[in-house]
Symmetry: D2
Subunit: 464 residues, 4 copies
Amino acid sequence: MCGIIGISGVPNAARLAYLGLYALQHRGQESAGIVTIDEDGVARSHIGMGRVSETFDDENLEKLVGDVAVGHTRYSTTGSTVLANAQPYLVNYRGGPLSVAHNGNLTNAAEIKHELVNRGSLFTSSADSEVLVHLIARSEALAPEQQIRSALERLEGAYSLVIGVGRSIYAVVDGRGFRPLFYGRVGKGIAVASETCALDLLGATDITEIQPGEFLHFLDGNASQLRPLSPRPITRCVFELVYFSRPDSTVFGESVDRVRRELGRRLAREHPAPSGDVVFSVPDSSNAMALGFADEAGIKLEHGLIRNHYVGRTFIHPSQAVRVAKVKIKFNPVRDVIEGQSVVVVDDSLVRGTTSKGLVRMIRAAGAREVHLRLASPPITGPCLYGIDTTNADELIASTHSQEEIRQFLGVDSLGYLSLDAMVEAAGSSQFCHACFSGHYPTDEDPEQLVLLRHADPVTATHS
Amino acid sequence: MCGIIGISGVPNAARLAYLGLYALQHRGQESAGIVTIDEDGVARSHIGMGRVSETFDDENLEKLVGDVAVGHTRYSTTGSTVLANAQPYLVNYRGGPLSVAHNGNLTNAAEIKHELVNRGSLFTSSADSEVLVHLIARSEALAPEQQIRSALERLEGAYSLVIGVGRSIYAVVDGRGFRPLFYGRVGKGIAVASETCALDLLGATDITEIQPGEFLHFLDGNASQLRPLSPRPITRCVFELVYFSRPDSTVFGESVDRVRRELGRRLAREHPAPSGDVVFSVPDSSNAMALGFADEAGIKLEHGLIRNHYVGRTFIHPSQAVRVAKVKIKFNPVRDVIEGQSVVVVDDSLVRGTTSKGLVRMIRAAGAREVHLRLASPPITGPCLYGIDTTNADELIASTHSQEEIRQFLGVDSLGYLSLDAMVEAAGSSQFCHACFSGHYPTDEDPEQLVLLRHADPVTATHS
Amino acid sequence: MCGIIGISGVPNAARLAYLGLYALQHRGQESAGIVTIDEDGVARSHIGMGRVSETFDDENLEKLVGDVAVGHTRYSTTGSTVLANAQPYLVNYRGGPLSVAHNGNLTNAAEIKHELVNRGSLFTSSADSEVLVHLIARSEALAPEQQIRSALERLEGAYSLVIGVGRSIYAVVDGRGFRPLFYGRVGKGIAVASETCALDLLGATDITEIQPGEFLHFLDGNASQLRPLSPRPITRCVFELVYFSRPDSTVFGESVDRVRRELGRRLAREHPAPSGDVVFSVPDSSNAMALGFADEAGIKLEHGLIRNHYVGRTFIHPSQAVRVAKVKIKFNPVRDVIEGQSVVVVDDSLVRGTTSKGLVRMIRAAGAREVHLRLASPPITGPCLYGIDTTNADELIASTHSQEEIRQFLGVDSLGYLSLDAMVEAAGSSQFCHACFSGHYPTDEDPEQLVLLRHADPVTATHS
Amino acid sequence: MCGIIGISGVPNAARLAYLGLYALQHRGQESAGIVTIDEDGVARSHIGMGRVSETFDDENLEKLVGDVAVGHTRYSTTGSTVLANAQPYLVNYRGGPLSVAHNGNLTNAAEIKHELVNRGSLFTSSADSEVLVHLIARSEALAPEQQIRSALERLEGAYSLVIGVGRSIYAVVDGRGFRPLFYGRVGKGIAVASETCALDLLGATDITEIQPGEFLHFLDGNASQLRPLSPRPITRCVFELVYFSRPDSTVFGESVDRVRRELGRRLAREHPAPSGDVVFSVPDSSNAMALGFADEAGIKLEHGLIRNHYVGRTFIHPSQAVRVAKVKIKFNPVRDVIEGQSVVVVDDSLVRGTTSKGLVRMIRAAGAREVHLRLASPPITGPCLYGIDTTNADELIASTHSQEEIRQFLGVDSLGYLSLDAMVEAAGSSQFCHACFSGHYPTDEDPEQLVLLRHADPVTATHS
């Protein structure tokens, strides 16, 4: 998963891109980068590993001159965690500086890469997105619009893209519409972003969602529609609404917060917990779901777990001598809420099950009489091929265990998963991709094969 | 405000101190430090500016050998933001290595410092706590217990202390009991910490609150009571319960979360908002209060504001050209919850009023029909002299404006402050210091005078 | 100018490459990099801006696993001072990992780059060397040897190269032999390096100079000759002997120290300074020349200038208020040697003249009665196109001023330049390029045009 | 050994102190620090581990406001290599900010420290110099001049000091005059420095050496003589002239370069090497000595060893597999000079003998027929107690081995040490301390005892 940003026709575009990336930080903390283009068409970039706040400072933002910007924050999907894979890509090609920020995953990248390498293309990263850059550069079309279009026609999979060519910005979403993308007006210019929360922060007006297959061109703050991509069946990623997007965003036409409350309500209807004294969330991802559940079930909402927001990526794990589970660093139970109670814990989803098992043990140690776990999505049985870095199927607990086995593994008194139909109904009126839950992959690839390919990378480069 | 930790008789004491400081990070992010003592009585320390996660890594923790540790995380109260003021202090005195971690503020420090300087003592920091170290070193008593006691007898103000002398750890709370301190058993040793949430994380058992005036000695994991300090009227800091402590802690004998829900309930009784459609908190500090308010008032609880937890100290403010209020970086409204509604916003307290004003404007921009602000504490009219870094009285909005003026300044339809009596009743059975609300300072100093003294510091030292 | 290293068939090849780069540090301090290949053909690289000692530490060297290595230290010639231009290049192409370390400058790079870009090649750097990588990758030959050969056939200019393909190392010098390259045996393996001083440090035996046009293949420590490149007139860079190489190296079959002493001797014959009381060098570059001069002229050698070796790239220049010339930070006169004397200062060459002017003023301030400047090379009148970053012709003092004008500008009593013939004779039996002195460029390009092209770079990328 | 600087009455004093420390870098590379005092008497300091260039940048120099400065660069003598030991010391005492920069070593520091600790003084470092700060602060005298004088009266050993009190600077040299100190006029102000090379760099005029026991006061650029310290027999450190000072300095009234040439000449007279074909130095410390030797002996001077100046403190030693002696990284022989020759190597002194042994082996490997080592000072048989960090007597090769044993250990054909009388005569007209050569320690302490005391340090503190 990644967050992407585009700015056209706004002075100090790098500052806006920086703010926008801040608002999209939840979509990726592995690397952050901004490319700017100045009035003479000269491109500058700054990219670094880590969060936006670690990568940018006043000094390097100041050097990113220009009123056009492309920004990216990365959560690794394919490719190693190294600087070479950080985006936006920036190259010079015959059309001038070309920069690309990609959210999604290209399912036929390995195949096309193989062909391009045999024709002499040099790849500097192990990320799938680099294939697109080469296809644009090798296109025989003359106009950038045609070069991009011909490149996209060869690609399968998920892509929401912000592409800079010279002083132009192009924004496009694949025909299936897996990942969100929006644009709005900022002053006399335009901003493009993965989620509305970033456009809100920039004070954007006239915020519009870019529809599946839609292809837009922005130059000096003017927007124009290009001919759409060939239509495909629409398959919005339902997990964007369940987990990934920020609750204050509107995604696929729906308020994320509202969808999550509705998921909680439907969960309460499908799997009430009549013996429960108190309901609480695993903060902050399932807060809205717990609210909906409590409301619908008529059980009191409390804050049973406190999250330590200071726990970052650099946490040093204690030696074994100190027998503290990793989960305790991040969450602490509120004994006064839990002790002697039958508690209903609402979470958004269950991947490996190890964190939840730790949480349940901790809640029991705080004195819970009964623990009922309610999940606002169905069992995850397969990997995502379209941009979320889930693991191999055999690490997904629901792909190898029955619900009763999972219940015993977690040590809960009861376990309830929301049904696929209920999740999709709550998610709104779009058509959705729910491959990781249902196994119905909208594209033709073999999931196992693709996941394997992701980890083959013969070059490791570091920089200092 | 600061967080302090002590460990006695547990192998790899630095690792436990590190974990404990992580749990106390909300009490101070300016600096962090750990001193350890090994089996031969040799002391080692590592101290740095910034958060615990920025200061410590595997390499420097590995070098902190020993089964005894003293830890500190600082939120500046007196003294500049420089390394020289970071704690724990570590010096060699005639009793061996002496280390001090202090939470609180000594109100007669300036006076004693003046006297000590005239007698030839050298001060390397501008913090009040250094006075204590000099008093111990200059005491003519022979036993460390007596040296500490004679030093404390000269001091006024707030102090919860962890002091290491040789391989011994001493823990003591001033007779008024302004700041919390706890200890518990960890394996065959002892851990001391400012809040129970840190002891929970260490897996401590038999957790006991150190009472006002109580003086304890820990050696090789054994605890012994020393003669208590001279008794004083008890004046627990009510703001620990209202704002400072973590909700999963138990402080002054009360569950912080429970007290906060009760504050919310009493607020709903004193200042109901009958026209309100929806209640929400300013996350995360007033979550429990909003829960109590919604429950008592019978108004629906929602999540109307989303907090961006990635905003750290290093945020670079956008140029004026980008007209985004600072508050928008940290909070974003959920339009779906707010639009067209009469909203009740519950917050814990109001200091300067500038952040709240920004929030209100943002909530109105998201479409709120009416905004009712409810504060779970009385107007703050004076500075804290006992360890919380509030500013001069003239920056406190309630010290210079009437409630109606504040309501107009904030731009809310109605404004309700919880009464002093209701706050104190909700806070439990202790006696409290509520000087910042009531002006009744339990010690004799002139508040204005003391606040001025804090900012006089003729030496600035930096290191690289 | 750059230093390059190759290692084949020696365990911990990165450690040897690191040592070798240390010995070549005088050839470039802008960036340093090492690529290694392990027994499975997996490539790893680490590259950083700055000196070898700043870029590498025990941790990153430890990760560079393998018995094959390619190393590079860069002194910018073309392209900006940014990480993207640091070498070795490392890409995956259809033959596996391909790494390139280049010393020299390709004079037709811009032209070929233009053509490659039009055919869809993507350039990530602004350095000329990247063209070679693309030519190899696009070659239609099957064997790496043929791919490299066909790429080199297209290139003009100066190149001494170490190229890694899979586990093989190729070493080659252009047919004109502008830049030096050597190899020798280290244990059971082979080391390649720009100068013999690096091979000395590795304890290499059987050290052999790679002749112009010679093309070698090393695999698992075995060396084999490949068919040489098409022959060209030999034009060794005379400046390698005059200035660039380390005096303890043997270059182009000659001891650099011996050549420099001979330059000094011939200078004394052509331009004796009969009134001189004392001779000294500008340390350390002209030490050997001053020795030869003093010996031949029969004037006493002294140390008249002391060099401060601690002055690095990070020196902060004092404000104008402090009127200390930059040259005084680096050199200080020995008054006892200079006062009242007629001094002969021997230097290797004169570029802009500003440093020498500062030195002369300083020597006069130390009491010199007369100052005679002797230069062990002719006036520099044109830019170097083959790898030395001299500036535009109009900044070279000798391209726009007569010798008498220069003498007056420098403020010396007499000025003597060694003649072209004498320099070339002292430099040994090779044929030489002396284009910067004589204007006879061995290749066909227009010098002015090429220097301009170097500074056109539409993309600037930084990393953190 | 350390370098110290004082500035009085010059705008941007920190910039001058920075320049001065650059020139004194050879006297200590462990830490560097500057304290400034502004017009209101406010002190600021910046101190860091490492070289001047690593510690200071434009940003931190900019913050050091004021026209008064005290600077220090440290080469550890007593105390650990930690920030707490870096100077200048800066404390607030009753006279205002007090800063101290000390060059030398106090031989009765441990004794006085013990007494002060018992009286309640707190020591934050393990360095001997801190004792002085406490003595000044505890002095009962009223005037700073008297406080300093009474403190110095209690101290034994070597001290050249720059002391800042308020806006005044005091400079003083102990009565025996072990270490050099100078002052001169810079603009309308005054600069004080350990060596004249630093004053030269600042463009100082009227440079005057501070004599043993001399005590000076500088305020706002005006100098005044204070009553001198009680007279002691003068014992200048002869090693300052032999090794430590920079050759372009004038120290103890003598040109260092001239003294060194004379040492070389006398060495040639005492120990000629009639069979020698060529003479060379171990660069750069014995350059002047080799010049004098060659001149006197009538043997040709050459450059037989090249020094790699890029070798810094961060060098990573190769694994054992790479059998390269550490000495080869730093020096490389010039084969052309050495091969087949009988060489005379002139060095300044011999401490442990391990480096010389490596050098000799390297010179033989480069083909030398004979190697004759000549040392421009007598055998070192005892530790220095006055500021040079030599090691225990049993590590000094000459304290445990005869000259013939040393000759065999080093593997040289002949070995000649300059006699004590000749060294002292060459060193000029002062009286000298030559305790490390002769065993005649001018103070009363037991050398063995003192060296042991230096390594006892019960506290280790690091910072980040």
